[in-house]
Symmetry: C2
Subunit: 560 residues, 2 copies
Amino acid sequence: MPATLTPDALAGKHRPALDRALDAIRSRAFWSPHPEHPKAYGESAPADGHAAFEALRGTRMDLGQPGTDGWAGDEVSPYGVELGVTYPHADPDVLLPAMRAATGAWREAGPELRALVCLEILARISARTHEFAHAVMHTSGQAFMMAFQAGGPHAQDRGMEAVAYAYAEQSRTPQAAEWSKPQGKRDPLELRKTFTAVPRGVALLVGCNTFPTWNGYPGLFASLATGNAVLVKPHPRAVLPLALTVQAAREVLAEAGFDANLVCLTAERDGEGVAKTLALRPEIRIVDYTGSSAFGEWLEDNARQAQVYAEKAGVNTVVVDSTDDYRGMLANLAFSLSLYSGQMCTTPQNLLIPRDGIDTDQGRKSYDEVVAGLAAAVDKLLGDDERAAALLGAIVNPGVKERLEAAPGLGEVALATRAVVHPEFPGATVRTPVIVKLDAAKPEAEAAYLEECFGPVSFAVAVGSTGDAVELLRRTIREKGAMTVGAYTTSPEVERLVEEACLEEPAQLSVNLTGGVYVNQTAAFSDFHGSGGNPAANAALTDGAFVANRFRTVEVRRPA
Amino acid sequence: MPATLTPDALAGKHRPALDRALDAIRSRAFWSPHPEHPKAYGESAPADGHAAFEALRGTRMDLGQPGTDGWAGDEVSPYGVELGVTYPHADPDVLLPAMRAATGAWREAGPELRALVCLEILARISARTHEFAHAVMHTSGQAFMMAFQAGGPHAQDRGMEAVAYAYAEQSRTPQAAEWSKPQGKRDPLELRKTFTAVPRGVALLVGCNTFPTWNGYPGLFASLATGNAVLVKPHPRAVLPLALTVQAAREVLAEAGFDANLVCLTAERDGEGVAKTLALRPEIRIVDYTGSSAFGEWLEDNARQAQVYAEKAGVNTVVVDSTDDYRGMLANLAFSLSLYSGQMCTTPQNLLIPRDGIDTDQGRKSYDEVVAGLAAAVDKLLGDDERAAALLGAIVNPGVKERLEAAPGLGEVALATRAVVHPEFPGATVRTPVIVKLDAAKPEAEAAYLEECFGPVSFAVAVGSTGDAVELLRRTIREKGAMTVGAYTTSPEVERLVEEACLEEPAQLSVNLTGGVYVNQTAAFSDFHGSGGNPAANAALTDGAFVANRFRTVEVRRPA
């Protein structure tokens, strides 16, 4: 098929954005090329997107892939809606060789054209952001606005960030060099050298349930932009957003004259555990994964033929030492605990509060007062059911619900959870967060607060002093990992101690957030998501290390 | 102790070289800041260097390290000279915490100052290049000129290359950013962000016998420049060059006001296997290793708390298809096989030659004629004992000698080895290379040519066609790895096929080398050493991937 998307057309359309993205990763100032307001997508976009999503329900999504040996898929939205979409189930013996074979021309395309094709894929996805929003909402359980923003523009921004890093990394070495070594009075030695970025092979993306696009796009686009083929294995409960992604990618690749099999999907049947089989295949040279520590560690231990980029469990801590904006602090924390029912890898879990209280702009506040204040702030934030549902979204799976229900058994409940009736989807499980009081002085409490309790459960942990808090923070990061750390303090010395702990372990730190930025949110092109230096994740989104080892550089030298 | 080497003084002295190095890694044109001619080091340098080396013999090298619980060292030069130097043997329970504690101020120094200090260390080493040359010669068995060049300026160039990559990588993210996110009519959200490159912890350098400095410096300087402390565990037969390196590093670090324990040495006692113990210590977060595949794979399998950069065994291949410079080809190959008795990880092992001969500028040459021609070229090159010794150096250890002596049992000998009497060191084991004929059509030959036979043994493997040669090349790289691939051909199509194989596997390729550049030599700042994409090595010297994961970036964000 002749390419209908020419390199020139792609360059005209996307090179300015690529240049802007390259600037952004150098400055890490604010830049968000994909608008986060739903209205920015045109007047008919909301209805069109909703209709497109509804039209998908009950269909078979045939992606035209080789080696499709059946169909799989039985997603049920956390909002109670059956999606009824089925997806290709792949025979890896057929599909993987076809994918590997697709990489030759893709390698020859070079870093720039690969980047431009990736940006066109993102543009196609962006144009369907409303459709994706429903797909993300009805697989992750995120509320619509969050599904729209985090699953749409923010995920697309992260994808573009990965493309920019991949392009920059491959462009650090010139494509060719003339080498001339002086030999005194004799003629110089002269060589002509070429340098080609070559892919590792086929990359496997193991998708997650809660942020299928946001957590999936960095690895997908980093691998694709560095010349690899990418096989997407979504979480069985969150296939649709990634299937739409694969569809868009295949469409663009074909139009640009490349083999659509550079990006493929494989769904899995119930209990099949196909990721384990795929991850050990010799063709798979890269694995990107977000999910449990158990499987992340299994991948690291077993998929030894591959580079494994794994985001796993962690225990996020906030050190509460003092504040000059008590209300702002409580409101900010209340929002962080509530957003998407705490089902984010970045949601704070342990709030470390000195047993004898903290200094605030409203006077000294005892430990009990701080905890009660936080509980009241959450109550106030979630007082109205409609607003609560729009912030909480739905509980994503029964495991989260079980942990939430078991939480009162762990300690004194400072804030009880309550069921919220979703105004539109009465079948959804919507719950407000629980806050449990624990005391670090009681050894039996450790089993609770030193494990990840994923979901809307947080622990107000009483500590002897801020110094003790910093020590516990340090130990928590080192032993359990952390995607985020927060701190509230008016003391430069405490701030220094917390920062030192985060530099040494290492973890990403937010200090004194009291306004409209939350510890659990990061912005592409500016914030790093995870540090890659503690057990919660072995890579950060996105830096040079995230892309540098997805390709290798082959040098060919010849006499000049 | 007040710093006598100030940041300003270091910048004045070394910033221009750092900038030049940053240019070089972008252009990969010729640059070699450390002169390779012995005369460039001053008139008295040869005698001074020799005297300094002689003065070291029989001494105890006390580096003033904490946790020294004894002394070890019993190096005997491959030239028959007993060195008699003893070195500190470390108690890791004392030494490693001291090293970790040293990293705080080193992290705070920032990437530029760290780079400048590293360049000062290299400058001190450079000033002692003659002394190092003797140390390398009498541990590796390299001939003096090679020990001088490869162990001196070329190793120093590779070290500086690693410093440049480390600095560039850490400088890609700004130290601070102002972030302002528009909020329509409301005030923008504003954050002040800082980004700090933080080390992984303590790096372990496991040195090798044949190229202690050349193979050691990239990892050592990459780790140090990215803020890590580095513990050097040399090969028991090649301690001195790295001990002198540690000595120079400690001297400079102290003068610059840093803790000298950022770079430490531990020697080991006979059969102690201390690398295994050290590599599993939780403080060790990076391991650089050059040596056997068995131990390299053990490190990769077991030192899971660390990033492991391992250069292991490989089988280097030259495809001989055709040439328009038959004499040049034979002379070039003869030199490559002879240099340092083939004891380089880059020396060609398998020469794949079509059974029915090749086209040359001197007419058609049969397989037998090509092999005989190569044997004659080696004979001519090594005909004079003095010249032979200056090229071959000494056999580094009994294992190499055993393999050399066993080689005639593998097939028909096309060129027999002979003993050369070293003019200065009659106790040295000096041997010319052996060339053994094998036929790929005979299945039993595979056991010989598909294993690394490290040392002066090469195989002239008869193949059915050049196409067969390319297939065998491909299989050899994939299954056994390769640091280098060579090809001789006048056919653009053959050249394309070989290049395609090297791009797909991947491996570094040299085509039609007939002059003064050899397949087994690479130049820092221009050539990559290894691809990092086949079993011979999981990293290349030096690229972004070699440095990017030696540090992590910690972000701290605060309301602006």
